[in-house]
């Protein structure tokens, strides 16, 4: 709440919506250029993503991963750091969850499952510790080190999955199946407990975890002393030193929380869907998290909305590529690129004009 800024609905609602609208206009032009009807394409995308229980389930399943990685980027960002290693930290989160699940299969599920979730968070945090330490105490730039750690994580996982952790007798780079007590229930299974029937999709309990994580981050950043220290370090490190807050210590703590959140992304894919550790399961969610955090302006509420948008793009895009062979999978990536460009990189392009309009309509001067 860094100002008598505009209300949250304006900064995290209207501004991103305008950006997204422009992105869709630009993408629509591209679709028109290759001879398809952009309106129809948009309809197919939206219907595919939101028009059925099946589509909605997949959309929210993608959304879950993006909430975790978006929150991870946001927490680091509040401390003034750009953690772009979410991809690697999420991969390690999967490894952490798998190590717990595979080494303690004898535990009862009320014990095993929380340990698996904790394992994911702890491994993600551990993976960011070295870059965090180097940034805090040696000034090595976190962007460089976390990128390098992404490659290290990917390589390490391949090594483990074709070697020590590979299921005996299998040709695939994956571990053995976890025991049922180490996996999260799917949403349709949970609905069945309450006597409801919904379509089976990969959407699972971790979606609830993601929402809880968003609430956790909001409380942490704006309602705790630690969050205050994190924001002070991020906004003015000299003032932090003056106040007796150690920027090095806060940097490490904030990045550990960030890495932990990224690691939790693995609960969706590994504990929720796969039930075993597979290679490259993050599928770029770590990088999408950067766009999600930028678009959500670092606010958990905005991040949940932005993650939902990217969920729609992923699921709707897949449907669109299926329905319209001329619009290939690559075209979908172009559309996503436009959203990232306008909502992430150019996020401030319309902000001033929207603030001016708001000021004219309400008579209140705000900074967006």
């Amino acid at each position: 709440m860094s100002a008598r800024t505009a209300p949250v609905w304006l900064t995290a609602g209207v501004v991103p919506l305008v950006n997204v609208a422009v992105a869709f206009l630009a993408a629509g032009l591209v679709v028109a250029l290759i001879g398809e009807n952009p309106v129809e394409a948009l309809q197919i995308m939206l219907r595919g993503a939101l028009g059925s229980q099946y589509g909605l389930g997949y959309t929210l399943y993608y959304t879950t991963s993006f909430i975790f990685t978006g929150l991870a980027v946001a927490v680091a960002f509040h401390a003034g750091h750009f953690n772009i290693g979410g991809e690697g930290q999420a991969l390690m989160g999967g490894l952490g969850a798998a190590l717990v699940a595979l080494s303690l299969p004898f535990l009862p599920w009320p014990l095993l499952l929380p340990l698996c979730v904790l394992g994911a968070a702890a491994a993600g945090a551990a993976w960011v510790f070295i870059p965090a330490y180097l940034q805090a105490c040696r000034g090595s730039h976190i962007v460089i080190t976390t990128i390098m750690f992404n490659f290290l994580a990917a390589t390490l996982l391949v090594y483990l999955l074709v070697g020590p952790m590979k299921m005996a007798g299998s040709m695939a780079p994956e571990t053995a199946k976890f025991v049922p007590g180490a996996t999260l229930p799917l949403m349709n299974q949970m609905a069945a407990w309450f006597g409801l029937t919904i379509t089976r999709t990969p959407l699972n309990l971790s979606f609830i975890f993601a929402i809880l994580a968003a609430i956790f981050v909001w409380v942490l950043i704006w309602r705790t002393r630690l969050g205050y220290a994190i924001r002070t370090v991020g906004a003015n490190p000299d003032a932090a030193v003056y106040a007796g807050i150690s920027p090095a210590r806060i940097t490490v703590i904030a990045l550990l929380i960030s890495g932990g959140l990224a690691g939790l992304m693995a609960t969706n894919e590994i504990l929720g869907v796969q039930g075993r550790l597979i290679n490259e399961f993050t599928a770029g969610a770590g990088f999408v998290g950067i766009a999600v955090a930028l678009m959500g302006r670092g606010h958990p509420f905005g991040i949940v909305l932005a993650a939902l948008l990217f969920g729609v793009l992923y699921q709707g895009g897949a449907e669109l590529a299926f329905d319209k062979p001329k619009i290939t999978r690559e075209m979908i990536i172009v559309i996503q690129g436009f959203v990232i460009l306008f909502a992430g990189a150019l996020e401030m392009m319309f902000a001033d004009r929207i603030a001016a309009l708001y000021a004219r309509l309400t008579g209140k001067l705000v900074a967006v």
């Binding site: 008598r4 800024t5 704006w222 924001r231 003015n236 003032a239 003056y242 106040a243 007796g244």
Partner: protein
Amino acid sequence: MPAPAIQMTGIDKRFGAVHANKAVSLTVEKGTVHGLIGENGAGKSTLMSILYGFYAADSGTIAINGKPSLIRNPADAIHSGIGMVHQHFMLVETFTVVENVMLGAEGGVFTAKGAAAVRAKLQALSYAYGMDVNPDAVVSELAVGELQRVEILKALVKGADILILDEPTAVLTPSEVEKLFVLLRRLAGEGKTIIIVTHKLKEIITVTDRVSVMRRGEMVGTVETSNTSPADLAELMVGRRVVLTVEKGPANPQAVVLDVKDLTVRDARGTIRLDHATFQVRAGEIVGIAGVSGNGQSELLETIAGIRKPAGGTVSLNGALLDCGGSDDPTALRAKGLRHVPEDRHRMGLVKPFEAAESAILGCSDEPGFGAGPFLDRDAVLADCVRKMEAFDVRPADPTLRTALFSGGNQQKIVLAREIERDPKLLLIGQPTRGVDIGAIEFIHKRIIGLRDAGKAVLLVSTELDEVLALSDRVLVMCGGKITGERRPEDTNEQDMGLLMAGVSSDAPKVAA
């Protein structure tokens, strides 16, 4: 009568909702030194930026030497014969004087020809105006006064007939100021036109022919300097009568609170910034530190406040030795009753993007009153800020307003409220009124004296000599990291202080504490 050098008519400029210049008109006669004064945010920088082409005016016209001129960018301004000397010098430190002066006039692919031309011009100008600057000296090795002369030469070499100087004396010692003024008078005598933007009323009276006063975006008057006084100018600036003198009774010093012995501080490169400083501050007295900025005052304050680690020497508080920068970090020192108003509130004292209430708990966010356990209670933080804003008359009294949106004086009041309200035993206070409007200065000075009269020890650092002399019971002068002398304000004068500030140590006996 010749046409005026500058005639700005009906200049109007808005930045969003801020009306920075409201139909301002300014006329400056050729061959005069003209002062432009006003409080922060009065619009004088905006007006000068428009004249120099940094901003375009929304409406209004500019005529230079009677000729209507369209100044769209600094290049146009230079072409019209306008030169600007910024408060923060725009020089490349690793270049020589010649290389700096020829920036923008290199004269082709190879620099030899341009350099020769610049060198010739430099020599002619130095001779004409008695400015003694070695053209081959590397800029980083020059003293501040010389840097300023290089800036002035730079403008003159580019053919400036009109010089704008923005706060030219902020970083100079009194004797350097004197030299500068002699130079300015000489330039004016040769037909150059000088505009000085400043907030120092005494200097305006000394050097200018005419003064224009701005208030809240409007030009409130232009007066002949010979017909005015600092008090009249202050009244024009603020819009009401202000007390420029500080009223205080005699001090009643008690036990020693702060005892500094041989304190030595090196910077990251190992250069000595503070050299064996030794002094004491007693309860119930204000000890002032005078000196040109950058002579070790910042290092002194920051070390005592626990932000830096000294290379040698000791600091004791109430007789107990401190481990400054080690186990006695700012948090630990606050617990011991040491409070610190930093010299630069924007860099250290506040977090500008935060709400005022959040800036008002900087360094205090761990106090139990602000929430249970790890949580911060927003209501408690807001309520605390409302109380402080009331006690210190902060305007607007809105704790949810972003810190950056307050004026300099009100930001400083927020910092002071935060530090003074916590009942310090020792208050370190740097530049208490830098960038603060005259109206608020009065209030801040009263608070500091009130603190002294309540039996607290106050260590005050200010580069405003008048302020140090007015507030302090004893004055220490620093130069080059050393304490070059100690005086009682009533036993000294500007010349004496000027010598000490320039590092000329005197053998005069120290005042008994």
